[in-house]
Point group: C2
Chain length 525, copies 2
């Protein structure tokens, strides 16, 4: 372990630089004045250059490669172990999954170094600035409802990403190189199977739901319409976030154009939302969604936070947590049962005369709609498929930026049967591409599918319905903390799935969950 002290210091440096860049980004997306953004881009470019240098060019890899695993296994003391659910044998051996945390940190660092070192430093730096300009251009285009404002910058971003794919290499599909950044090992081959399985089951089922008289009746009642003053919404959202268990002492609720969560340590995991004054459901479900991300980060073990293992393992697992709280919990009757009077009291004009059952039906209404983040659970994966098919084509050179709005509309028609009236409710709605997040969207659907399987495993141990009805989320959250959150990046998504549910990932849980849930809501008598 001769280099460990030095490696640890370099780890701290990398974490501090990442904290700095993330804080500047967080600030930029929440409160920074728009005129400041070009210069913030320059600063981020410089910081990313320092980060690149410290990661790739300042001797870290050599330090790591000179270390021997055996020395770590020998030196590790039982005291160093703080994680909860290790086997007795692992505890005695001072190891995790056959290794030590320190060794795992070095493995993760090595993976990161090898990935980033394939990108030339100048190109890496330049992209940081480009992504800031991308974000600004996207905001500008949205404000003008005009894709042409965003298109030239988007082209540059895609060009960089294509180069990035070449740097990283791939076995089968160029898009695989991008998928790997968000869900390590995920491929087009796997996703094609996953999505076609979903489509096959969901599209016909969706037709049945569309024909449901019960659903039509609820739709006609127009529940949830009204005017919801932002200040009043803000007050309700603080109540809701606290109720589900968000610790404001280690978190914060901000406002941004697109809801997101960002953590700087396990003691500082923040969420944002946006307020739409004619739509209370928008902020309710984005709060619950982002809470799921934040609680994951807040529960990461103390020993891992601010290290290379100190955040969620993959976007798929992250989305499984956010979509669990948003949907499995947040759209259930048992969750709202105790607090429905609260929302009625906050917004009497819209809810005083609505019974709980109708409210629950209204937050689960199935509708072929335009905006992904406001979509119901059943059509949600179809929104993801639109993006997935487009991204796949973009990176196999069968689609150009000019063709994007057209391609979007075609796929929306194919999967959802509707055509957006303008680009704001079409191609411009998501922030992701403006920051170069290609390959990210599929993890939303994958995460939803993971969450259905986790949910089944949880129900074998926890009386979720009773606990939610009692307003007690301790056992629910602690199940996730114990099995998933605390490990940060120590366990792979596959390990988390097997260790938590006893079996490998199986999308049938998701399909069954959707069909059962919506049949109960709208098809059964």
């Amino acid at each position: 372990m001769k280099n460990w002290k030095e490696i640890e210091q370099k780890m701290q440096t990398l974490d501090a630089l990442q904290h700095a860049m993330n804080k500047i980004l967080y600030d930029m997306e929440t409160i920074a004045p728009s005129g400041a953004i070009p210069k913030i881009g320059k600063t981020l470019e410089t910081l990313s250059g320092i980060y690149y240098y410290e990661l790739v060019d300042n001797g870290l890899l050599a330090l790591i490669e000179a270390e021997k695993e055996a020395d770590y296994l020998e030196a590790i003391s039982i005291d160093a172990i703080e994680l909860d659910d290790l086997s007795r044998e692992e505890k005695a051996a001072g190891t995790f999954f056959g290794t030590t945390i320190e060794w795992d940190m070095m493995k993760e660092l090595k993976r990161e170094i090898q990935k980033i070192s394939k990108i030339p430093a100048d190109s890496y730096r330049a992209f940081q600035e480009l992504s800031i300009i991308g974000h600004a251009k996207w905001l500008e285009a949205k404000a003008a409802n005009d894709f042409a404002i965003f298109a030239p910058t988007l082209k540059k971003i895609i060009a960089y990403k294509k180069q990035y794919i070449e740097y990283q290499g791939y076995d089968q599909h160029p898009y695989d190189a991008l998928l790997d950044d968000y869900e390590p090992g995920l491929t087009v081959t796997e996703l094609d199977i996953f999505f076609s399985g979903l489509r096959e089951k969901i599209i016909p089922f969706l037709k049945k739901i569309n024909a449901s008289e019960k659903m039509q009746a609820i739709t006609d009642k127009k529940i949830g319409e009204g005017f919801f003053l932002q200040a009043k919404q803000e007050e309700f959202m603080v109540f809701l976030a606290k109720y589900i268990g968000y610790d404001f002492n280690r978190g914060q609720l901000g406002i941004s154009a697109h809801p997101f969560s960002q953590s700087f340590s396990n003691d500082d995991a923040r969420i944002t939302t946006r307020y739409v004054e004619h739509d209370i459901y928008s902020s309710i479900f984005s709060i619950l969604h982002e809470f799921g991300h934040a609680i994951y980060e807040q529960n990461i073990a103390e020993k891992l936070t601010m290290t290379p293992l100190g955040s969620g393992i993959s976007m798929g697992i992250h989305e499984s947590q956010s979509r669990f709280y948003e949907n499995m919990i947040g759209r259930s009757e048992s969750f709202w049962n105790p607090i429905y009077p609260a929302i009625q009291a906050f917004f009497p004009d819209s809810f005083a005369d609505v019974c709980l059952a109708d409210f629950i039906a209204s937050i689960n209404l199935v509708e072929q709609s335009f905006i992904r983040v406001e979509a119901d659970e059943l059509t949600y994966p179809l929104h993801i498929m639109v993006r997935y098919e487009i991204e796949k084509k973009l990176f196999s050179d069968t689609l150009t930026v000019e063709q994007l709005p057209e391609a979007w509309n075609t796929l929306m028609m194919e999967y959802l049967g509707i055509t957006p009236a303008n680009v704001n409710e079409g191609i411009l709605q998501d922030i992701h591409w403006s920051q170069g997040y290609f390959g990210y969207f599929p993890t939303y659907a994958l995460g939803s599918a993971y969450s259905a399987q986790f949910f089944e495993a949880m129900k074998r141990e926890v009386d979720v319905e009773k606990d939610a009805r009692d307003g007690d989320f301790t056992a629910i959250t602690s199940f996730l903390a114990r099995n998933i959150h605390q490990f940060g990046k120590l366990k792979t998504p596959k390990e988390l799935m097997i260790d938590t549910t006893g079996e490998a990932f199986n999308p049938d849980y998701y399909i069954d969950y959707l069909i059962e849930k919506y049949s109960t809501l709208f098809l059964n008598k």
Copy 2:
């Protein structure tokens, strides 16, 4: 100029690291959750270590020392000159004050390197964390109104500052080493003369004002009392900040325990305030004060921003700008004349029945009060003297931390004739010491004195009263931008004073200003 490219890159690195640390601090003081602070302290410690390394130990000084001034003077092109008010000869020569901007940047860097390199790296880093803990402890102590909570950390901060003084060295008084950080070259000898001159004139004049029947009559009217809902105040402050000319596209208004301003570039100069619901004057004058700081930073020349010369030259000059807008402008009849109906409409309960003259008298009421930031202009320097005398004693080892509350009360009695009822309105009121800002306070009084002299010079060119009455601050602000703001650190305080006013600093302007203003308000018939 063989090293200039490399030096420039290192300058960018230093600026980006400073931006990062300042943004993390800004976030911490405005929105960060309290539980996050200890880990933020660790991150700042690490970042300050990187900054120290880049500034001191990464070869920058050697690069600078290998450069020759003559090469810069020769190579500089006219195109590079963007600043406004250079002499024709200077423009032709492509020089500023006999040198080039590039050369001045290197001089400033060299000064900074020489100063910081005297502090051992570990000590420098450790202090960054200590100042975060200091801030947290100060907040905790304030919440409990208990100095004992803050005292142990304050001792550590003072111990560091004493070491810092030894590292830096001094000629006459140890406190000089601290003063120099905020106002280069300022000494105890000069300040003793400045303050005793002030005391000699102000204390007897204050007695006259206290005896003024006119003032007593206004005091008895209790103008400005009432309840001012925070949301309503926030709305009014945005109006006020826009009215005086704050560009929200390149700035932002936040909330913090202690009002401050922070800039990240000339396109991002932010201000904060705090809202006291029984005191509207508190936020009005802190907004106008912080605006003065922010407009200074916003007007710094494009060529200087994000470089070692890209911020205000000294705290004294900075305070001259903030106190100019707060007092010379913000407490004048001509400023409020056009917008008095606005504040009456915003807060009719408190102002509808008050005439403008009484309102103006009320914002200039002289009162021996406890809180510095809410003090009138006349007693304000006495508040500063309390802090100055205490700091001087602390650093000549004639006062201990335990004796602080006692010493505070004694000086308050001596200068202001009152004794605080508790530590929150005494020793705990200011944020400065918690972050190690010893030597800062005197610049507030010095800045007030500077501003009186600048004001006189401005009035020779600009009809300030007419412009304010017309709500047109263009000529006023442009005078300051042209003579002071744009130069950043290019000119010393002494140069700014002579070039702007035609003579060296003379505190008589300040004394005359105060005596004339308050005589007119409260002594003349």
